[in-house]
């Protein structure tokens, strides 16, 4: 007797079948896929408008089968505000790196969250400016070496790494806020759940949804993909704790 075949793993509809430009071991691709899965499962593909940011992930618009607009560096939350106000019935989300969101775009993300814009933000924190070649980001760890802090980031000179999930959770308009990682299967499952909630609060009209992903940048970190993945648990999670920082997804009224 022949064994019956059952397909258990497929490319999500929202993800386009093409090779990505990412370096080996980079987790942008994994996060893209999670976004695609959640868009599929929530039936959002046809109403989604992506606001892509400047950074390695600017080409997300080539990988997702959704309408998209490219924002200037750091301005994605303002662009998303404009899109959502113009098209309140669409599902609007940004996808931003840590240089983009936590440095040049700090004002835009905080005010977008504080206004409770009905948009979601996927924030990818790889503790470095990837696209420009591995410079120090506001999230670079103390002691981490980059091309602009070759001796390692110093607390006295450069300050502490910004904890964005904690900051965003403290703002009134945020309806959901979590920090997740994609380094293990267990974390992947939790990450997808968080992403879904961040998308749901927009659909329910509750407010702003935010998920911070801790992610690897093997090239910028000058590590093998395996070592980079291990660094997430060894160095990043102790400083950037995982978990939900705010969850008003069960609310029935807008925050």
């Amino acid at each position: 007797m022949q064994a019956k075949e059952k397909i258990v793993f497929e490319r999500p509809m929202s993800v386009i079948d093409r090779a990505t430009h990412y370096c080996p071991g980079c987790q942008h691709g994994v996060i893209h896929r999670l976004v695609g899965e959640v868009l599929d499962e929530m039936g959002l593909r046809e109403k989604a408008i992506l606001v892509s940011a400047i950074g390695c992930s600017v080409f997300l618009y080539n990988y997702l089968d959704v309408d998209a607009v490219e924002a200037p560096h750091g301005r994605a939350p303002a662009v998303a505000t404009g899109v959502k106000r113009a098209r309140p019935d669409n599902f609007v989300f940004t996808y931003q790196g840590d240089g983009d969101l936590a440095s040049i775009g700090l004002a835009e993300i905080m005010h977008c969250a504080n206004r409770g814009e009905r948009v979601a933000t996927v924030f990818v924190n790889n503790t470095i400016y990837g696209m420009t070649g591995g410079q120090m980001a506001p999230t670079t760890m103390i002691g981490q070496k980059t091309t602009t802090c070759p001796g390692g980031r110093c607390r006295e000179r450069e300050g502490q790494p910004l904890k964005m999930a904690e900051i965003i959770a403290g703002l009134g308009g945020t309806a959901y806020c979590a920090r997740v990682a994609v380094d293990t299967v267990k974390h992947l499952t939790a990450a997808k759940k968080a992403l879904r909630k961040a998308f749901e609060v927009q659909e329910k009209g509750l407010g702003f949804g935010f998920v911070e992903f801790l992610a690897t940048c093997p090239t910028g970190w000058k590590m093998t993909p395996v070592k980079a993945n291990e660094r997430i648990a060894e160095e990043l999670i102790p400083y950037f704790p995982l978990g939900e920082f705010k969850d008003e997804s069960k609310n029935t009224e807008a925050c």
Partner: protein
């Protein structure tokens, strides 16, 4: 031409801009406080919501301009307004809108500069407005009203032009236009089509291929091709040249001035005409495209020219370029902090007339 039979109302230039935007069915407005344009966001904050639209007081002019980018990417009529220092902050988004072919309308009720300058009228933003302002190789249409009526009319037109060319359009007034009060005959354009961006605006990829609004072109030759396409568009925009001539036919001297200064110069010309002096006025209404051919045609008749501006000399460079095959132009400068009267222009005009 739509019938202009709406109520006649007595309003400030800033309010005329807001009324014009509402008549043009502007759906989203993004503002930030700065003198002397505050009446625009103040009025819009309630009026646009009553009209079923959206108002956001942004966290900065940077954000406001990027909200405009987002709303226009969705194919919606939208606007932002500010004054000089705030317009500097909007330049990045204006460049992106030009590169992404988005129809944003931006109003600048300009004030004295550089830096914090003052809050009075000035025309120091001419270069910034017509020569690009932001980075890269692009152009914006620039409309310069001289009266409250024109502030109303040109704001309506700004939306039409923005959508016609899928290009940012700048309305350049100043503290005089923004703050003075005049009767304005309102009118409602009838031609504004629902879904004018139906074939390019972002609305979700339902039942059609996905759409992409972007200004990044990394593939070999792609940016060159894109920029050549933009150049072609800028050539076509030349058809939109607008200007006013007053008593130029038999004039021996033509004053060239734009915006509020053009209007004050007109009074001076009128007065001198009464005294039998052969002077006229040429007032560019589109600063880009600059009405160089019309100006050159006047020069061919052997006239003299005097450019008057509320700055140290900016438009005069374009005037001289336009006139170059035939003649040049004198220049009279009004400095910020001064509100000129028609009498102030008499001596320089007569001086130029007599050579």
């Amino acid at each position: 031409m739509p019938s202009r039979t709406g109520p006649r109302i007595f309003i400030k230039g800033n309010e005329a801009v807001a009324h014009g935007a509402l008549a043009a069915k502007c759906r989203c407005f993004f503002g930030y406080p700065i003198t002397p344009q505050n009446e625009i966001p103040e009025m819009m904050s309630s009026a646009i919501c009553e009209a079923g639209g959206e108002f956001v007081q942004a966290e900065s002019e940077v954000a406001a301009a990027n909200m405009l980018l987002g709303a226009t990417a969705a194919g919606i009529r939208a606007m932002t307004s500010s004054s000089s220092p705030g317009i500097s902050l909007k330049q990045e988004a204006i460049s992106y809108m030009a590169g992404s072919e988005l129809p944003g309308v931006i109003v600048n009720m300009s004030r004295g500069g550089p830096g914090l300058g003052d809050i009075g009228p000035a025309q120091g933003d001419y270069f910034q407005s017509v020569k690009g302002g932001g980075h890269g190789d692009y152009r914006t249409l620039v409309l310069a009203p001289a009266t409250c009526q024109e502030a109303y009319d040109l704001t309506i037109e700004a939306f039409d032009l923005a959508f016609k060319y899928k290009n940012p359009v700048l309305v350049l007034g100043d503290a005089i236009i923004g703050q003075m009060k005049e009767p304005v005959t309102t009118w409602t354009p009838e031609h504004i089509a629902e879904g004018e961006a139906a074939d390019w605006g972002l609305s979700g990829a339902k039942g059609r291929p996905k759409r992409l609004v972007k200004s990044l072109f990394l593939e070999d030759g792609a940016l060159a091709g894109h920029n050549l396409m933009l150049k072609d568009k800028y050539e076509r925009m030349r058809a939109e040249v607008r200007f006013e001539t007053f008593e130029t036919e038999d004039a021996e001297l033509v004053v060239v001035a734009f915006g509020s200064i053009g209007r004050i110069a007109k009074s001076a010309v009128r007065k001198l005409r009464k005294a039998g002096r052969k002077v006229g006025l040429f007032r560019p209404i589109t600063l880009y495209p600059f009405p160089d051919e019309a100006l050159r045609a006047l020069a061919a008749g052997g006239r003299r020219f005097l450019t008057v501006e509320h700055n140290l000399g900016q438009m005069v460079e374009d005037v001289r370029l336009a006139l170059a095959p035939h003649t040049g132009s004198g220049f009279f400068s009004i400095l910020p902090g001064n509100l000129p009267t028609p009498d102030d222009f008499e001596a320089p005009i007569l001086g130029a007339l007599e050579g």
